[in-house]
């Protein structure tokens, strides 16, 4: 992500600062006021676009799938799903890992890129964080309904009880509870802390008394005091520093759910890094899936520029490469380990009755993205990126399908071999969570500032403080 040096590329030309030769992250011509108006206007407008209502309704309608599916599930039990022995883990676990992986890009953008001072992240971090939280909501649904008796799911937590029963901390499933609940909590706190100054702005720009009141409460009385800002910046940096090991640990712990089991196809040390890379890969794909229509719909091309899309595509190229290495290593180790079981598992995964899933995975996750993303022309082609992001999300779902199902359904004892078939209830709940995600996201876009105003302001050239009292140049920039 080089930022210096003139690159003679017609696509990027308007983004190069003529004075410094640096890439501007935000289109030129913006000042503090215009940025505020543009972002706050989306939230504070009294004319909600019709498309928003349409999207919310579609999301809500699809989300009823979760309600209906879960109601029937609670009435009848997990027998309505396709899970059976030996395929005891099905859609619920696949979807759980898929959703939580999608969430990881949000944390990566908000935390890791902040630590690396990648200022381009400022435009996309808020909605990437929102994506994280909504993805965790969808992900968290699955383990809860998968426990069989969801009304007793709180038994997972260590709490003093009259039965004197406690969790067993040697189990990766207990680790999962800690990892995912911490992840959800810290993501929400980080997200909220990031929005406090923007709530202050919204409170001051709102005209409706109710909006003033609500944003005023949410802002906790933020007034932009410098001492507050310094503590605020310190807390943000600390939260970023804490979220970075957190995001890496969460998917590591999830991979332990598999890797700690003594099952060929799961029992491998490569799982933690390969799961984390896969999570970020699918998460960036999801950010693109969301960012591309939103920037178009709300005319945010100035703030979420082609440079952002290009950078995200590059991250996908990098993490996709790691994922490809992971797949390659799995195949290599199944041969190199000289283990009969490992070898059979891989052969069965590729050429067994469910081999089609493996080849879809290779096609969508490796063959299509990793051959095309090298081209800058395609990386800044918005339509192509959008389609590609959907392809990669499909591929990452199939990755979890392949890991969960093809390792389980033919294990050590041929007499216990079976197969796995998802039922309509599996599909209904899965598709329903996509609706839930869309529904929550539409609410977010309408009622919360989806781009952090204060952080965008920090990226404008007007922020440079000039010593010595001459403000002539700054004043000129102000009027641009």
């Amino acid at each position: 992500m080089a930022t210096k040096g003139p690159i003679h590329d017609p696509v990027a030309d308007p983004m190069i600062d003529p004075r410094t030769g640096e890439y501007a992250v935000i289109a030129p011509g913006h000042n503090f006021k215009s940025v505020t108006q543009k972002i706050a206007g989306i939230v504070l407008t009294s004319n909600t676009p019709l498309g928003w209502f349409f999207g919310l309704m579609v999301g809500g309608a699809v989300a009823t799938g979760v309600v209906i599916g879960c109601t029937w599930l609670f009435l009848k039990g997990t027998g309505i799903w396709g899970v059976t022995i030996p395929g005891a883990w099905g859609f619920a676990i696949i979807n759980f890992v898929w959703w939580i992986g999608i969430g990881h890009a949000g944390t990566l953008i908000s935390a890791i890129l902040l630590l690396f001072k990648q200022t381009w992240r400022n435009s996309i971090n808020r909605f990437a964080e929102a994506m994280t939280i909504f993805a965790v909501v969808c992900a968290g649904t699955f383990p809860l309904i998968h426990v069989g008796r969801p009304w007793l799911a709180y038994w997972l937590f260590p709490y003093p009880n009259t039965m004197n029963v406690w969790p067993q901390f040697r189990s990766p499933l207990a680790w999962d509870v800690f990892a995912v609940s911490t992840y959800a909590t810290i993501s929400i706190v980080f997200w909220y802390v990031g929005m406090i100054p923007d709530f202050g702005t919204l409170r001051d720009r709102a005209t409706m008394p109710f909006a003033k009141y609500m944003y005023g409460l949410l802002s906790l009385g933020w007034r932009g005091s410098t001492r507050h800002w310094i503590r605020y910046e310190s807390a943000s940096l600390l939260l970023a520093g804490l979220s970075t090991p957190l995001v890496l640990s969460v998917h590591t712990v999830i991979s332990f759910d598999f890797a700690v089991a003594a099952l060929a196809g799961w029992h491998t040390t490569i799982f933690p890094p390969y799961f984390v890379a896969g999570a970020i890969y699918s998460g960036f794909a999801m950010v693109l899936t969301l960012a591309i229509p939103i920037r178009k719909f709300y005319n945010l091309e100035d703030l979420v520029t082609l440079r952002h899309l290009d950078n995200m595509a590059k991250v996908m190229l990098g993490t996709g490469g790691i994922v490809a290495y992971g797949y390659g290593m799995e195949v290599f180790m199944s041969w190199y380990s000289a283990s009969h079981w490992e070898f059979f598992m891989m052969w069965n995964r590729m050429f067994g009755p469910m081999g089609w899933a493996y080849w879809i995975l290779i096609l969508t996750n490796i063959a299509i993205p990793l051959t095309t993303l090298w081209s800058r022309k395609l990386r800044v082609n918005v339509t192509y990126l959008f389609i590609l992001s959907l392809i990669v999300n499909t591929g990452m779902w199939f990755e979890r399908f392949v890991i969960v199902v093809t390792s389980l359904y033919r294990d050590y004892l041929p007499s216990s071999w079976g197969t796995y078939r998802a039922t309509r209830w599996d599909y209904m709940i899965y598709v329903g969570t996509m609706g839930l995600f869309t529904f929550l996201f539409f609410l977010f876009v309408r009622f919360l500032p989806m781009i952090p105003m204060s952080e965008i302001k920090m990226m404008l050239p007007q922020t440079k403080v000039k010593r010595g009292g001459t403000d002539a140049e700054t004043a000129v920039e102000e009027t641009v």
């Binding site: 406690w166 909220y192 409460l217 906790l220 310190s234 807390a235 440079k464």
Partner: protein, 180 residues
């Protein structure tokens, strides 16, 4: 609390961060101490001009993290060794390597919550009322595009006429009194 006498301070509004920082430095040099800048985004130079360097947020965060790791590890040890001992494939009851993972997560959980709530508490938030909101131009600019310097009346050097004259020597858009 008895009703306060007089005003909270004088607030000057600036167009650019450079003007604000310059005025703040001059005010500090002139001997003013009780003052505060209000900006729409963090201006580090303003904090330097105010000589505000140290925050206790990192310390609170560290203490939270230490509390998290201790709490989680001791809880796991008590639960699995004394509270509810289970023989899992013959492994020792005190399986400390396995206990590290939840302890690690709670370190982050406690440290993160301490950083966030510590910042909010040290900032004295939530505080929905503050005198600066009484300045008529404050809410239109402070969170959008203007930069404010408030010299507070509690400063021993503060005098309404002299301080006003002092602030008016800078290219401020306006200098107004802030009521309590």
């Amino acid at each position: 609390m008895p009703p306060r006498e007089g005003i909270y301070g004088l607030i000057a509004e600036f167009n650019t961060p450079s003007e604000l920082v310059h005025a703040t430095e001059q005010a500090r040099a002139a001997g003013y101490r009780r003052m505060e800048c209000y900006t729409p985004y963090p201006v580090e130079e303003a904090a330097e001009a105010l000589h505000f360097h140290k925050t206790r947020v990192p310390l609170v965060c560290l203490l939270g993290g230490l509390m998290g790791v201790t709490t989680a590890f001791l809880m796991e040890t008590w639960v699995n060794v004394w509270g509810y001992p289970l023989n899992i494939a013959g492994r020792p009851l005190f399986s400390w390597p396995a206990f590290i993972i939840p302890a690690y997560e709670w370190t982050i959980l406690f440290a993160g919550l301490s950083a966030a709530f510590g910042m909010i508490a040290l900032n004295g938030m939530p505080q929905l009322y503050h005198p600066v909101f009484n300045a008529p131009n404050f809410r239109n600019g402070a969170t959008t595009d203007k930069f404010f310097l408030c010299l507070e009346a509690s400063d021993p050097k503060f005098s309404l006429s002299e301080t006003r004259a002092f602030l008016e020597q800078f290219p401020a858009i306006s200098v107004v009194e802030v009521d309590h």
